[in-house]
Symmetry: C5
Subunit: 272 residues, 5 copies
């Protein structure tokens, strides 16, 4: 008995090659800053990097540091066609960093080009990268319109409705092999189990998801924005209290907390 | 069969949004230093940071170092409306730090502002942050007046009654997924199991609790004050010897021991 | 009863010594750059090293840095008879490195000689090695022409057919003792299980394998090249979703992502 | 049904408060150097710290370094009323340290005061602390005269009888939750199981024990002195080969080996 | 019922004290360089240390560096009565080191004295120790002439018979508590299981063993020399594929690969 048909395999390849060509194939793609921030598209590459500022930076004069802040602001503007830069102040909240960059773009090399250019700025020269993780946006694997129409409707009906959020949290998540070996239906059921109890918190907490399996040392990067730390703590307790959590081998580690601020304000705060 | 009712979910959101608005919602709140130290309120944000002083600090003259101590003292005073600063000398007890800050406030950004300003002081410039963890105060999840009236009464009846404590211990604690998947009643029973044997030690040991699940890489930060290390060791042995401990995946690591001292005294000791 | 026959053991030694002499036995062997890049030969030693550039490098003038880039380019050419150097820009994607070297050669000491010489260049002096792992190419242990002819045919029939790949990923993999204790047939079955679902992705993703058991702290180094991160993510999800993954105790950690570039271009990008 | 009696709990507190007052309660206590080294008393605080000397130290002249050694010797003498300092040369044996301090005293703050003063000496300024762990002496929890009279007699009858030991080993030990959840009788049986096989080695190996549960990230610090590394290895193999070892989650890590030397000799060796 | 006889215990002590006196007891012992390299004696102390060279070294002139190499060579000669120094070039193969020392001697303090003197040389001042592990040689615990005569005969009959080996590998190994709790016969059977499949490789691979349980954070240090990395990989696969491997909790980590070279050549290569 033949274990599998070579013909079918090769046929499968063609199908795959059609399916898999997409946004990533182009060398450099223009972004729409409004659309990319919504993360509703497939094929967005997201890079999360934290940095710590070397004490040498503070040997520069205040005037030089002001100029250094402007230099970063100008660089962000220069790259704004191909990437979107979000910045967060982490100093005081985190031991391993002073600030966090979240860079979104369709083309990883455009993201890399900005970050390489940033390292060549005055602040960049003194900014040591301390953590880096990346992932991509994709359609949800299991919670599709076809398989879970009600859950999707509920998710769509629940919008963040508080004042603009001031704090962001980044939590990488990894599941164990037993989880990955479950059937699609089993995974869907677990997904529902973990999503439903979180719905009441989505008015207080924004949430975005990046997929990282194989691309980096996590399966997902979850990104949250909120003003309400108690709601965020309660939301996480819900996520911890479902059986899916028995399969989490990484949840956070690092958990990164930052204050959401315009890029220039982050570097002004760090240039005091 | 519908797995859940969208209507109910949306209704739930409104309830949640009412429940979850609270202290955190305001931009910046004044603290009452007497009330905040008791940690009896919900909605206090607590940041625990350790720092190690760079050898470069000791190239400053003694006069400059004296001035540097005064600078920190003045900064603490300046921020005293919005945060409370507690400081601890860890040099000699810990390899990873020379001192510990515990900062309490209603507004995380006020805590961050102090810590960012501290980094801009003479001592701050030479203080490298080596560990940071934060959490919030909340009502107890399980041991409520309704569910465990006697235990709560006993806890209230047991007050620290020794000389002012000289040593503080910080121990982050994390439980495994099996614990989080237990029912409320099971958790309450385990809570009682661990609380009752510790009651005899509360005359010798002060204890405060912060909640961190999702906010940082621990579930709780436990904070202790004592003069009596044997009592504290015996108290911990009690906590280790109940079945709840089978679910602890982190207990300490780091365990931070510091001497409780006025802020200025900590920096004077480190400026010798 | 004798547990084993000494005579047979000694006889076995002679057989082994014949089998095991090979490419490695010679002191220094010339490489064919076209053949070695295909990694189709047995007996290629592969060294993967990441480096981070010390800030001191940027105190050199631009002219000096241009010269430094040329120096590395010349060194690569000088060693091109005995080794092949591939370079990758990792700055911005990784926290632990700015660039990655993959060095292939028949003679480990020739690889080491290049890397020692590199450390003596202007850039090398400022390049701190942050990760190093090595392995060798061998015939596949289980998926042989005899045991799995169809799978091998399918693998051969599936060629990368997209534009030249721009991104490389390095993922060390380690299996647990239970896997190693399986019979040859069990291992072959698991190999088939993990290989078949990946076939459709091989038009989008190039893959090479090095063996490291005992030579370094991994069992294998898997090396991938692709333009399509979604395909790569999907490919890895397939590898995660087979039972073989229950035996993986390391998959990535670190996962290294780099942009594939000519050696000079990598160092030009880092010399900005 | 009431789960427990509040009255009994409060009564229990009084008993505890009587039992737990002791040596630790006083602010600063004089030590008897002969008694404290025997570690036969309850209530001794022991701090084990390792340090690595910064290369900057060797830029001082030999005369300055000689003076620096004398400065440490004088400091030890100055503090000898309240603490006992033991020093060990670890350079060459350990990667993480050049020397080890073991400081015993009744008052943790007296220990801290010495270590803070040490950091202000010429050598201390160049000595970076790399590991710190502390614990207290207590009566044995399980192997008491009442419960195990013969074992205690055997322990007392077995005295170190070789030449003064030249090497010291520090091994922190931590047990898992299953061990802590055993009954007193089960723990006593395991204690006997591990103690009896070690008795033959006590003529060659000195052993002291500190309790750290809750105080630091270990349950015990075991401290050994010996001349005979083979005996010490055999002793540890005995400790590994009893069922109690199934509950050890930390045994060493770090294991610190140092040469026992007078304080001045340690710093002379490091000042070459 | 008495659990054990005190008299027998004390008697046991005398026996032990006779057995355990040996090479280690003397203060300083002369070595025979030919005998010690064979590691066939009991009571040899072996220290494995890796070092990384600080970039500051390369600010010295070439003439100064040549002199620095000679200084190390002279130091090795000076200590050659009491210790044997083997050196290995690891630069390029390892991220954590540039070279490895293996120092064998009967007296640990003689080994330490050399290493302390080395730190005082010009190269030593710039050599930062990055890993250190030590152990002792002992008779095999289980595979004795009495218990496994045929295996021992086969081991003796199998000699390394290739060209002088050029590469060395150091792999620390640790077994779990379940292994240590096996009976002597069970351990012997597992030893046979792992030894027999490795015999065919011993013509290509030299192997030495040090015992470290309790002395350092491993149970054994295995040291290999070979020219044939494929044979070495195959040998390790054999060791991974026996049930004994189910009890290995550490195998390598770090695995250190170095090129075997005369001491002066190692430092010449690093002084380029």
């Amino acid at each position: 008995m033949r274990l599998f048909s070579t013909a079918r395999l090769v046929a499968g390849l063609f199908v795959a090659s059609v399916v898999l060509t997409g946004a990533m194939a182009d060398d450099k793609m223009k972004i729409d800053p409004v659309k990319i921030v919504a993360l509703s598209e497939v094929g967005v590459f997201g890079q999360f990097n934290t940095y710590k500022i070397d004490p040498g930076y503070y040997k520069m004069t205040m005037a030089e540091r002001d100029k250094a802040v402007n230099e970063v602001e100008a660089l962000v503007k220069k790259h704004s066609d191909s990437i979107r830069v979000d910045a967060y102040l982490t100093r005081g909240f985190e031991s391993e960093s002073d600030f966090l960059f979240r860079i979104n773009g369709y083309d990883p090399s455009a993201v890399q080009e900005f970050l390489t250019d940033f390292k060549a700025t005055s602040i960049g020269r003194y900014s040591n990268i301390t953590f880096a993780i990346n992932g991509i946006t994709k359609g949800l694997n299991h919670t599709t319109q076809q398989k879970a129409p009600e859950l999707l409707d509920a998710l769509k009906a629940t919008k963040y409705s508080e004042k603009p959020p001031r704090y962001a949290f980044v939590l990488p998540i990894t599941k164990n092999a037993a989880w990955w070996n479950k059937t699609e239906n089993e995974k869907l059921a677990l997904m529902k189990d973990h999503t439903i109890p979180t719905l009441p918190f989505l008015v207080n907490v924004n949430r975005k998801l990046y997929h990282s399996t194989g691309i980096d040392d996590a399966d997902w990067i979850t990104y949250f924005e909120t003003n309400d730390l108690k709601a965020f703590n309660d939301l996480n307790i819900k996520l911890f209290s479902v059986s899916e959590n028995l399969h989490n081998v990484r949840y956070g580690k690092p958990t990164i907390m930052g204050q959401i601020m315009p890029v220039a304000d982050v570097f002004k705060a760090l240039s005091k």
